[in-house]
Symmetry: C2
Subunit: 206 residues, 2 copies
């Protein structure tokens, strides 16, 4: 997605060869028009999948799940990282380690909101280690729902996330794929063949 790559080039803050901050436009301050476009792109990439629900994890996935839900005209659900006292119901849960925060937490979804047979698209802001996304995929499986794929805004292709997901047969689409980075420099690799071919079909300038 060209406009996204350009924004990462212009506004991304690369702290090291592994840490990229995009909090001026994606996940602290949010450019709402860009987020809407990201949602539309996820909807286009998975248009043939008859998605009934979008799933993400709080907090930084919510704006993209909202945008994808708007574009697909379906609800979204966000997994919570901590059980609130008002959440007394039966939940699906998975254990997720965050390398950014250096802690392991339990992510949960109330069972009522993920039904057997639902066709689920998981979205998130980053695909790096894949830990959060594997946890969400586990939850979809616990629910007996059908995972149609994972859509990520930014992928760090030099980390193991995509491999872990593809090992499980999960279709992964990322809108910006970073193969290498260092302060002041970021390298993108072309989108996946599936994306390129659908781009050619529609001629969309993403």
């Amino acid at each position: 997605m060209k406009v996204l790559e350009q924004r990462i080039q212009a506004e991304g803050n690369i702290l090291s060869d592994r840490v990229l901050k995009v909090d001026s436009f994606l996940n602290h301050q949010v450019d709402t028009q860009l987020a809407v476009a990201i949602g539309q792109e996820f909807a286009r990439l998975f248009a043939h999948e008859q998605i009934t629900k979008v799933l993400t994890i709080e907090a930084s996935g919510i704006q993209f799940a909202m945008a994808a839900g708007i574009a697909l005209n379906v609800p979204f659900v966000y997994a919570k990282k901590k059980k609130a006292i008002t959440q007394g119901d039966q939940v699906y849960s998975a254990s997720v380690h965050s390398f950014t925060r250096g802690e392991t937490y339990q992510v949960t979804i109330v069972q009522d909101y993920l039904q057997p047979g639902e066709r689920v698209l998981i979205v998130d802001d980053f695909l790096a280690t894949g830990a959060a996304l594997v946890g969400l995929a586990d939850i979809v499986e616990q629910a007996g729902a059908i995972l149609v794929g994972v859509g990520c805004v930014i992928e760090k292709t030099f980390q193991e996330g995509r491999g872990l997901l593809e090992e499980r047969g999960i279709a992964v689409q990322s809108l910006a794929r970073i193969s290498a980075m260092s302060p002041g420099h970021v390298e993108f690799i072309p989108e996946q063949p599936l994306i390129v071919s659908s781009l050619n079909r529609t001629g969309a300038g993403v």
Copy 2:
């Protein structure tokens, strides 16, 4: 907002005279079309305010800030509840006690994303004790920005939140105002005069 009151009547789960769960359509599973309509209503109520930014707090305010930002065509920023290790910058912060979770946390916003003179609308899902909203109002003041008002999806009028905000001269608009509730029963009170008059002007069926 009539459609919102109807959804609360039909789908709200009232656990006690103080705890209302709306997580089937507002803040765990999210009805994206309803959230979009809520954003449009906030935009309409504050249309004359030349808002430049929407401010909320993670996680359950994000979908409504996103919707309001889309409707107003401005970015939004969400305050974070815990400093991430990638967030090394100068921040504005406020201490907020959550009665739902029984803990006090620090909410922060990177200073770059709230500039002096910006015209800010704060939005959140609930107005009850007002603790989170007062914290956000403090942050707007620290930044030297202008708080044009607070928009809440659901207000519990029997708690002190509105009073605390109005004491500071803050304009508060809520889309559903609950005056009393108990399991199986919820009472709404009419919207504020300002809202009623603008409704009469536009004839919108909210």
